[in-house]
């Protein structure tokens, strides 16, 4: 995969500054392309309601993907995010339901649920990070393992069925997903806040710099007095925190958790990160790219719902094709070829 970057290195210079800008803009242009496609297919695409739906949906995967950007930039991978989300949702629901009796279905109950979510997210992330760094086990294996573990736990908690949030609490909790501030849905605001925080952390702090360094060359990082294991563990903790935030806005939407919650979210999150231009091998990460990647993925799903020209059976194929084409276009290599 690294070939992509390497190949470009020599040509980059020759095509000058414009090409570099284009590369950073790539994901945005691809997104604009998708929007044009959507509008062409159905006028309703550009309606406020639909756009707000798209962005609100992108928030889940987007927030998780912001965390994944850290993990991947530092050279790791986390396959457990989807089941972690399911597990945290489940635990939140169980605890909040339990608290109704003592605390009533008020704001306190919801707040305690939120606190629990954050604690669990950080804890689960720390487990992923510590087991892989201290145990010296590939992150792929560790998180594949915890993926099974968290999913089992939620199945167990739900006794094979569905955990369902008390309907009184739903009323209190509901605005977190369905509410808006100045017309902007709250999940979108949270997504934006997480993205800004992620951007600042990754690009403007020593911690972020260290993530880049570790992903780029761990040995160099170690020789630069960086606590490699600690930083790597922290990236998983950030990932866990992001999962917990995503969960906090997820729970009021559907008010339930089961073993099928969050299935394949890990794949979507990683895809959003890679589409956004972060390198899977580590050493280079781009939060804004990730945000755009997440919105792109959601938009593709939305566009498929705009038309019934395509058989439902082929949804996956169209989705796959669009992803490949979008990434191809945004890489901008085709432009170079053409201009030669």
């Amino acid at each position: 995969m690294s070939s992509v970057e390497r190949n470009e290195a020599p040509t980059k210079k020759t095509s000058g500054g414009f090409s570099i800008d284009f590369k950073a803009l790539g994901p945005f242009l691809a997104l604009v392309g998708l929007f044009v496609l959507g509008t062409a297919i159905n006028d309703a695409f550009l309606s406020g309601g639909n756009l707000s739906n798209i962005f609100t949906r992108a928030a889940f995967i987007g927030i998780i993907a912001v965390g994944a950007t850290f993990v991947i930039t530092a050279g790791g991978i986390d396959l457990s995010v989807g089941s972690m989300a399911a597990f945290i949702s489940g635990a939140m629901i169980v605890v909040m339901n339990g608290l109704v009796e003592t605390l009533g279905a008020g704001v306190e109950t919801v707040l305690l649920g939120v606190v629990l979510s954050v604690i669990l997210g950080i804890g689960a992330g720390a487990i992923n990070g510590l087991v892989s760094t201290k145990g010296k086990i590939e992150a792929f294996i560790v998180t594949l393992g915890t993926m099974g573990i968290y999913r089992s736990l939620v199945t167990y908690m739900a006794d094979g069925g569905t955990l369902s949030l008390d309907f009184d609490i739903r009323g209190v909790y509901r605005p977190i997903y369905y509410g808006d501030i100045l017309g902007i849905p709250i999940p979108v605001l949270v997504f934006f806040a997480v993205a800004v925080a992620g951007y600042v952390l990754l690009n403007m702090t020593p911690f972020g710099r260290k993530c880049f360094a570790i992903g780029s060359n761990e040995q160099v990082a170690r020789y630069s007095a960086i606590h490699v294991d600690r930083i790597k563990t922290l990236t998983y903790v950030i990932q866990g925190l992001c999962v917990s935030i995503a969960t906090i806005i997820y729970v009021p939407r559907l008010g339930s958790a089961s073993s099928s919650t969050g299935v394949l979210w890990e794949l979507e999150a990683i895809a959003a990160v890679i589409i956004g231009g972060t390198m899977l091998k580590g050493g280079y990460g781009r939060i804004w790219g990730t945000v755009v990647g997440a919105i792109m993925l959601t938009t593709i799903g939305n566009i498929l719902n705009l038309t019934d020209a395509i058989s439902n059976y082929l949804n996956g194929a169209v989705q796959g094709l669009i992803i490949i084409v979008a990434v191809f276009l945004q890489r901008g290599d085709w432009r170079r070829k053409k201009s030669k």
């Binding site: 970057e5 290195a9 980059k12 210079k13 020759t14 000058g16 600042v200 403007m204 702090t205 020593p206 710099r209 260290k210 880049f212 360094a213 780029s216 060359n217 040995q219 160099v220 990082a221 170690r222 020789y223 630069s224 007095a225 960086i226 606590h227 050493g283 280079y284």
Partner: protein
């Protein structure tokens, strides 16, 4: 250039022109690094290429061997214009380049690397026995004591370079280009390499040789071409040039004094004291003291354990025993962070593997080690830029484009950046492992004076170097290691090549450390 034309008339003559570059220009993006450079390589002759860091030597030889395409100009092989669209074509015509930067697949073995891309086959299968035998033969020829089955990542840098040389030799070159092959080699290995070069010259191979070590040029080269700022300055026979002339032609000015004047103060207080440090299998019972304002050299043949000892002191390697005292008080150093807190910094000799992030630009590289200096919460980019400005000035780092990846820098400029990176922490004690590897003579002298300034300001330096003049010219005392032990600490007139060799090879006969005045 006219003499080349004379040679060209008589192709059967021994010194006939094999490969020449004519009016070669090369630009990377907007930065032009070569301007109308021409060069002729003659069969049976060693042609040296001289120039400061970033003068364009590596770029030129990459063009001559097909790794880069010239922006303009042409290549002529045996009187016919050729175009090497890639290195494969170049090699097909017998042009072999040993890169300045090691080009080995680290996870593969020595033998696998030597035959990479042109494996010997029996039928469809690899003929491992033959390859191993041939690899062994090549290594024996180079008197290189590594196992063909060893993985490259487990080898010392000098051994890796010998593997590179073995790989090139196995390719049966007609035209052999060596880009600073000796930068990481020790004296003995350099001699072995020279024997090989002489043998090839006898056989009529045309050789282009790049080095910053002028002694070597005098010893091995027949003619020399000097580049400065991407331009051809002169081509002359080596016999006609003195070392000082070469240096002047390269740098464009006189180098007055190579080494700083130093007055060692053997009574200054001890700032670092190392006692009985052992590292499993690599270092045994090493003890020494370092004084304020002192340069303490560490000499020894490759694998003597100098690097292992230093990495053990600063917590990069696990010590099996030993104590470390800083200003008389015992300190716990179990990681590089601890060492940093104690004011100790370390400059690695493996700049590619553990020194620099090659895919990033200068700024993050420069500040990585001293990151907290640039802000604990947010990184202060302005401060970073300012530091970069200062470093570029102080270390004379020449990059065509400040934003380009460090991996694209010339070798010497990478080394300068690495030095700048380590100095960013403003340490009291600097351990420098091969500080001038690949550095041109002008800059070398600047670095030596820089080290002199450091000690004048009361800092202390531990110098690990395989360059004898550097060791003798800079160190106040010289500790010699052999087989993981410190076999002697030389002071005053005891600091001479003979004594060092005697201790380094272990013929001094004594077990403990001996002190010579």
């Amino acid at each position: 250039m006219t003499d080349a034309a004379v040679h060209a008339v008589d192709p059967d003559q021994e010194g006939r022109v094999r490969l020449s570059g004519r009016q070669i220009c090369k630009s990377f993006g907007s930065a032009q690094v070569l301007f109308d450079v021409s060069i002729d390589l003659h069969a049976g002759e060693v042609h040296a290429l001289l120039g400061e860091n970033g003068a364009g030597k590596s770029t030129l030889v990459k063009i001559l061997s097909g790794y880069h395409q010239p922006t303009s100009g042409e290549l002529i092989l045996d009187q016919a214009p050729v175009s090497f669209v890639d290195s494969e074509v170049g090699e097909g015509h017998g042009v072999i380049l040993i890169h300045q930067e090691l080009n080995l697949a680290e996870q593969l073995t020595v033998e696998e690397n030597i035959f990479l891309g042109r494996e010997i086959k029996r039928g469809w299968f690899l003929d491992k026995a033959t390859m191993r035998a041939q690899a062994q033969e090549l290594l024996d020829q180079l008197q290189c004591d590594v196992d063909p089955r060893a993985r490259i990542r487990d080898l010392a840098v000098s051994d890796r370079q010998m593997v590179e040389i073995a790989k090139a030799l196995s390719k049966k070159a007609d035209i052999l280009i060596l880009d600073e092959p000796t930068a990481v080699l020790t004296g003995r290995e350099v001699e072995i390499l020279f024997d090989q070069i002489r043998r090839l010259r006898e056989q009529g191979v045309a050789i282009l040789y790049i080095s910053h070590k002028l002694d070597e040029i005098k010893a091995i080269a027949d003619r020399v071409t000097v580049l400065r700022d991407g331009r051809h300055i002169t081509t002359e026979t080596v016999a006609e040039l003195e070392k000082d002339d070469m240096a002047r032609l390269m740098v464009g000015r006189d180098i007055k004094q190579m080494f700083p004047d130093r007055v060692p103060d053997h009574s200054a207080e001890i700032v670092l004291s190392v006692r009985d440090v052992c590292v499993d299998g690599q270092v045994r019972d090493a003890s020494f003291d370092l004084r304020r304002g002192e340069v303490l050299g560490f000499a020894g043949i490759v694998g003597a354990g100098r690097t292992a000892l230093m990495e053990a002191i600063i917590g990069l390697r696990e010590r099996s025993s030993g104590r470390i005292e800083r200003n008389g008080a015992p300190v716990k150093i179990n990681s590089l962070q601890d060492a940093k807190k104690c004011g100790i910094a370390y400059l690695t000799k493996d700049r590619k593997g553990s020194g620099l992030l090659l895919n990033m630009d200068m700024r993050p590289n420069l500040t990585l080690l001293a990151l907290e200096k640039f802000g604990r919460v947010f990184i202060d980019r302005k401060a970073e830029e300012a530091a970069l400005e200062t470093a570029i000035e102080a270390f004379d780092i020449r990059a065509a484009d400040r934003k380009s990846k460090v991996g694209d820098f010339s070798g010497g400029n990478q080394q300068k950046l690495l030095l700048a990176k380590v100095m960013e922490t403003d340490p009291d004690i600097v351990i420098i492992d091969e500080p001038t590897r690949g550095i041109d003579i002008g800059t070398k002298s600047e670095i030596y004076h820089f080290i002199g300034d450091l000690t004048d300001r009361g800092k202390s330096v531990i110098l690990l170097s395989s360059e004898m003049p550097e060791m003798l010219g800079l160190s106040d005392r010289i500790a010699v290691m052999a087989g993981g032990r410190i076999t002697g600490i030389l002071m005053g007139d005891g600091r001479n090549e003979h004594e060092i060799m005697r201790h380094a090879t272990g013929i001094s006969g004594k077990q403990g450390a001996s002190v010579h005045e």
